[in-house]
């Protein structure tokens, strides 16, 4: 059975019933979204890797308890967010994106050394990546979290409000301000 068109809920259900193969498409489908959500919130690749593993271990472990009363992505990003917050509380050393000199430099190096990147493209890509990292880093944590939940998790305002335990209006405001700030910061790259 292929995973094409099969819903997340169906895949996690199959996995919970013992079909190990169902986990693979589920992971691949959401791998990058969860990764970006974590990495851009914690601002550190090593920590994001660790969290990534924890999140998916939890998904595999708790699959049998998943009840399709909510979307799989809501459940997934709830786990991801909880793990991330636990990690931040434990380490007490959340690193803001602005301070990630090493990481940003590495990103830029990778981008500019891409085999198909010409000199001009490299500059554009470098600028856009740097601008995105800086812009996200300038957002307050709650706004960045809400924005990433929406754009990476594809979650609705209601779902984000539920996950972040905030009111609908608060969440909506955070999203608006986050977008406004990002629009302003990224305007020259539009």
């Amino acid at each position: 059975m292929t995973d094409a068109g099969e819903s997340d809920e169906a895949l996690i259900g199959r996995y919970a019933r013992g079909d190990a193969a169902a986990f693979v498409p589920l992971y691949r489908r959401h791998e990058m979204r969860v990764w970006r959500y974590l990495e851009r919130n914690v601002g550190n690749r090593a920590t994001a890797d660790e969290l990534m593993q924890e999140v998916w271990f939890a998904v595999a472990r708790d699959a049998v308890r998943y009840e399709p009363t909510s979307r799989f992505t809501t459940w997934l990003f709830t786990i991801a967010r909880n793990r991330m917050i636990d990690s931040i509380r434990t380490s007490r050393q959340q690193v803001s994106l602005e301070t990630l000199g090493y990481e940003a430099e590495l990103v830029v190096q990778q981008l500019t050394t891409a085999p198909n990147a010409g000199p001009l493209a490299a500059v554009v890509v470098r600028d856009q990546a740097a601008a995105l990292a800086q812009a996200l880093g300038q957002l307050p944590r709650e706004q960045r979290d809400a924005f990433l939940l929406q754009i990476e998790g594809d979650l609705s305002v209601e779902e984000i409000a539920a996950i972040t335990q905030s009111s609908f209006e608060t969440t909506k405001s955070r999203l608006r301000y986050a977008r406004a700030k990002l629009r302003e910061l990224l305007s020259e790259y539009a």
Binding site: E31, E39, D49, A60, S87, T90, V107, R176
Partner: protein, 324 residues
């Protein structure tokens, strides 16, 4: 209020920009994470399958118990009644009362009780009984015992099942058994987490080897108890790293000591220096080419140890040299 940001319902230019930039971003989770996650997921399914097989065996046993339980009681009661009917007339005949008195219940029961009445409520005694009506059900009782030992899971929660099973009736056993898989699943999950490089567990106070090592280790500047006697150059080298003895370190490096040699638990000099918060020693080791990702036997990397030990300068140094 005129500067209220536009609603998200408007054309999503920010989202488009974000996605464009994200598409160009080559950063992604490490291949090791992907492999670990998928392997763990498959492993969990295999464990669940094994557990389910155990549960099915238990269900079968439960059915066996029910099939055995009721006939055993009925058989025992029937045997007791039959024996009473056989023995009571003899008893009455021996006494041969001259009068045609009706044998009293008080007279017959006390004699019959030791042999016949006592086994009735204790079904385990029935397993040893030899009367014909009870033989059929008993034959299922012995496989029950063997089945129990055959499908005995290797879990810490098992004694919970055994206790009620041996002391109480079967239905209670079945209810208790149905709880066990959850407990065992938790135990398995915990095992998997511990075995699967879960970082927070490693960093959580008191939970992990890295943290334990760090909390057990004195802070820089305090007396350090060497973890091993410098019986050979490699041990001396590691000890120098642990103690922050820079001159000793450099001297041994110039004598071509193995920079990534490990102690009994897989710790390199870099790891030992990290655990002790010896920032300068870490810097020297990295400069001389120590492997920044050399994990110990528990899989704890120097970077994780440095984070857990709250040594930001060492974290930064390790990251500069490509520690993950």
């Amino acid at each position: 209020m005129s500067k209220v940001p536009p609603s998200q319902d408007q054309p999503d230019d920010v989202g488009d920009q974000y996605r464009r930039a994200s598409a160009l971003d080559p950063s992604r989770p490490s291949e090791a994470v992907r492999r670990a996650v998928l392997a763990h997921a498959a492993q969990l399914v295999a464990k669940r399958a094994t557990r389910d097989e155990g549960s099915m065996t238990k269900s079968t046993r439960r059915a066996v118990n029910q099939a055995w339980w009721r006939p055993a009681i009925l058989g025992t009661l029937a045997a007791a009644a039959l024996a009473g009917l056989v023995v009571a007339p003899r008893f009455l005949a021996l006494r041969s009362p001259p009068a045609a008195a009706t044998p009293s219940a008080e007279g017959s029961v006390p004699n019959a009780t030791p042999a016949l009445v006592a086994p009735a409520p204790d079904t385990r005694t029935d397993e040893r009984a030899a009367s014909a009506p009870a033989v059929g059900p008993e034959s299922t009782a012995k496989p029950r015992a063997s089945t129990r030992s055959a499908d005995m899971p290797t879990g810490g929660a098992r004694p919970k099942v055994n206790a009620p099973e041996s002391d109480g009736p079967a239905p209670v056993v079945a209810e208790t058994a149905s709880v066990v898989p959850r407990d065992r699943g938790e135990a398995q999950s915990t095992d998997a987490r511990v075995a699967g490089l879960e970082a927070r567990q490693r960093r959580a106070p008191g939970n992990t080897s890295a943290t334990t090592a760090i909390t057990a280790a004195p802070r820089p500047g305090t007396a350090v108890t060497p973890t091993e006697a410098p019986v050979d150059p490699a041990a001396a080298f590691r000890r120098a790293a642990e103690m922050g003895d820079l001159s000793g370190l450099k001297a041994l490096l110039e004598k071509q000591a193995d920079i990534d040699s490990r102690d009994a638990v897989g710790r390199t000099a870099l790891m030992l220096a990290t655990l002790q918060g010896q920032t300068n020693a870490v810097a020297v080791l990295l400069e001389y080419g120590a492997d920044p990702n050399a994990a110990d036997a528990d899989g704890t990397t120097p970077l994780r140890a440095a984070r857990a030990g709250d040594h930001p300068a060492i974290v930064a140094a390790l990251q500069r040299y490509g520690a993950r």
